[in-house]
Amino acid sequence: MLDFNRNHFELFGLRPAFRLSREQIDRAYREIQTEIHPDRFAHAGEAEQRLAMQWTARVNEAYATLREPFERARYLLELHGVQAMDARNTAMPADFLMQQMAWREQLETAKGKSDINALQRLEQAVRGEAEALERELAELLDERHDYGRAAETLRKYRFLDKLLVEIEAAYDEIDG
């Protein structure tokens, strides 16, 4: 019997790894939805329609987790019993924090001046660093299985992820 509570990777028929391409995840998602979406059961009995709805909500939730690198890594760590975002784990290397502060300052300046070009430069720099951290995460999680260090890297990654969200918001703000 299929278990509603199997983990997201099992549900999608994917190996539990960080290094998954967006195409792999998207394809698995579409294939499952094609079978279980409530619209497929428009003509079925009530029980099946209700189940289809529950399954689809469940699959959408899994998809939202798997497709975002941050959420995927956090979830993988959770499966290995590591709560990466535990509030007690707040220590960060000083140079990393300095870099964060510098970037935040740049963000404020760009926003203040409505300077789209500066914002784009900042975004590029942050994305570059985020990608480097993603590579590191992949190695720590998938090859070395060093979950303690992966959690540290993920906490750094989270800073960048949040910064990118703020950069997006800044674009919206500048656009009016």
Binding site: M1, L2, L11, F12, G13, L14, R15, Q24, R27, A28, R30, E31, I32, Q33, T34, E35, I36, H37, P38, D39, R40, A42, H43, A44, G45, E46, A47, E48, L51, A52, M53, W55, T56, A57, N60, E61, Y63, A64, E168, Y171, D172, D175, G176
Partner: protein, 622 residues
């Protein structure tokens, strides 16, 4: 509530009968109804061969109602009682209508949604919309020769929960069974995508009379996946008309004018705008009620200048939607143009420039939404087989609840795929706190006061604990119509509260039932007979669905006893269906539904498994 043909007892509907279902584009300016006939989607015309129904409703003192062209013709003669663009008022309070003072209506500020005082009494926008839907329903039933089992009604993708709920209420009030609320750009994408066997990333730019939507979709082998949507539910061709109208007043040195003259000049403005899509300049002439003569010439250049900011206003949501989808304009393979206002040459040029390509105009921008809705209605009515397309749509605006200090905690971010459920835990902030107020809001801003308030409810009966000890889990559930319901539950005690998020003006089921009952009494139809007919068709449908499920998977998934038990429940239901006892039919149907829960679960499991085997081997052991 399905409204169906009344069949004689024992006379069962043929097993694979074509079910009559329609798609309705309930537009701000124009509405249409379409259906799939012999596999092809067609718009249904009125008896004069016209496909569009102007979304205009006129109320007369004797209570009679005119809808469409007839009503439109009276707009300037009777501006107070002729409701134009009622869609702009759906789910909106008076404070949401910045231009309320300039409109000719006598608004009544009711809680949640404005109402309008007319010669036939106070009407809510829901009732006005229901009048339009009733006409389209009659048109469809006359043309298809039977009663509809249901309709897909389209809404702007950027409609919030209140606007969607209002639309659904209007449909119920018109006696329509809503198969689905479908986003307009998504409907257009279905019609376009299926016609052109399109694959890749497409943008749908829909500028109608009163709303603007942009949706970015990915089309992959029969899956239509909305990646992001954005828009402005108060921007459209009407705004272009007003720019011209203001220009006329300025040029003619007019200040105070009567509502009659205003309606007249707005109509002239719209006419001029539409002509400018075909020619470089247009002459505007009118005689006002005081005898003043208006005679002006408007050039396309002047028109473009005065509307430049409106055009720019549509590009901002385009940028945002692309950003949300993580794409650049160059990633977009085609831009489908929808809505009458995309005929404006300057819009075509601006959209082309933004996306770096010539927009696609090969489908009639007036009809494409209704056609797509009809195609989806056909699927949802069960008229098609397994290899249909699949739609994956999103919520347009983030949903959240109010937390300390008037801040919003987002629970469901915008552009999340529906249907979905998501829970978050909150706690009490005072010692001994026994109740928790839950304020549900929708929008992107951080402050509650900047978002739309959808509902407030209270979870009571939390046992007194120290602050921070209670664990209140709030679950948001968004269904396939994009409508939200919220449940709150204290985890240690199980105390629970639940609401369908219905804005305070939302019609209760009883109100709708009463209104429908009234209209049946007038039509001297028998409610009891209809209830029986509906239950019978639902029962037949269920028996049929269960039989085909047994045929497909009974062998593989059930023991002989389990199968026999289900078959006996079907037999009981079929005996009840042959009789006239409403209660017996309902009971037998309930019993069958109950009795197949496990079988249904096994079938779902099998479906999921089937989905997995497709790609499992190649990917599991890479």
């Amino acid at each position: 509530m399905a409204l169906l043909q009344i069949a004689e007892p024992g006379q069962s509907t043929a097993p694979h009968e074509h079910r009559l279902a329609v798609g309705i584009d309930l537009g701000t300016t124009n509405s249409l109804v379409a259906t799939v006939r012999n596999g092809i989607a067609v718009v249904l015309n009125d008896e004069h061969g016209r496909s569009l129904l102007p979304s205009v409703v006129r109320y007369s003192p004797d209570g009679s109602v005119q809808v469409g062209y007839e009503a439109q013709a009276q707009a300037s003669a009777d501006p107070h009682n002729t409701i134009i663009s009622a869609k702009r008022f759906m789910g909106r309070g008076i404070k949401d209508l910045p231009d309320a003072a300039t409109l000719p209506y006598h608004f009544v500020d009711a809680p949640g949604m404005v109402q309008i005082r007319t010669a036939a009494g106070v009407k809510s926008p829901v009732e006005v919309s229901a009048e339009i839907l009733k006409v389209l329903k009659r048109r469809a039933e006359a043309s298809l020769g039977g009663e509809l089992i249901g309709a897909v009604i389209t809404v702007p993708a950027y409609f919030d929960d209140a606007q969607r709920q209002a639309t659904k209420d209007a449909a119920r009030l018109a006696g329509l069974n809503v198969l689905r609320l479908l986003n307009e750009p998504t409907a257009a994408a279905i019609a376009y995508g299926l016609d052109n066997a399109a694959e890749g990333i497409y943008a749908v730019y829909d500028l109608g009379g009163g709303t603007f939507d942009i949706s970015i979709l990915r089309l992959t082998r029969g899956v239509f996946e909305v990646m992001a949507t954005n828009g402005d539910s108060a921007l459209g061709g009407d705004d272009f008309d007003r720019r011209i109208y203001c220009w006329i007043l300025e040029q003619a040195g007019l200040h105070a004018i009567t509502d009659h003259d205003k309606a007249l000049l707005l109509a002239k403005a719209r006419e001029a705008k539409e002509m400018l899509s075909e020619q470089p300049s247009v002459r505007i002439t009118a005689v006002l009620s005081g005898g003043e003569l208006i005679d002006l010439t408007l050039t396309e250049d002047a028109f473009n200048d005065m509307t430049e900011s409106l055009v720019a206003k549509t590009l901002l949501p385009c940028r945002k939607a692309l950003r949300d989808a993580g794409l650049k304009p160059a990633d977009v393979k085609g831009v489908v143009m929808v809505g009458g206002s995309t005929r404006i040459p300057r819009i075509q040029a601006a959209v082309g420039e933004f996306f770096g390509q010539t927009p696609l105009n090969n489908l009639d921008p007036d009809k494409v939404v209704a056609l797509g809705a009809a195609m989806q209605a056909n699927v949802l009515a069960g008229n098609k087989g397994q290899d249909d397309w699949l739609l994956l749509d999103v919520v347009p605006l983030s949903l959240g609840i109010e937390t300390m200090g008037g801040l919003v905690e987002k629970i469901i971010p915008r552009n999340s795929t529906i249907p979905l459920a998501r829970a978050q835990e909150f706690t009490t902030y005072k010692d001994g706190q026994t109740a928790m107020m839950i304020h549900v809001v929708q929008g992107e801003r951080e402050l509650v006061s900047d978002c739309r308030s959808l509902a407030r409810f209270e979870l009571r009966g939390i046992p007194p604990m120290v602050a921070g000890a209670a664990r209140v889990r709030v679950t948001f559930q968004v269904d396939a119509d994009g409508l939200l319901s919220v449940t709150a539950r204290e985890m240690s005690t199980g105390v629970e509260a639940h609401i369908e998020v219905k804005p305070s003006y939302g019609l209760t089921d009883e109100e709708v039932a009463r209104m429908l009952q009234d209209s049946y009494t007038h039509a001297s139809e028998d409610m009891a007979a209809r209830n029986l007919a509906e239950a019978r068709v639902d029962g037949q449908r269920l028996a049929e669905a269960t039989r085909s499920a047994l045929a497909a998977d009974g062998e593989a998934l059930l023991t002989a006893e389990e199968r026999a038990a289900i078959e006996s429940l079907i037999a009981t239901l079929e005996r009840a269906l042959a009789g006239n006892d409403l209660k017996a039919i309902k009971q037998a149907a309930d019993a069958l539904n109950q009795g197949t829960v496990e079988f249904a679960a096994s079938r779902m499991d099998a479906s999921v498994r089937r989905a997995l085997t497709g790609h499992r081997l190649e990917e599991i052991d890479v």
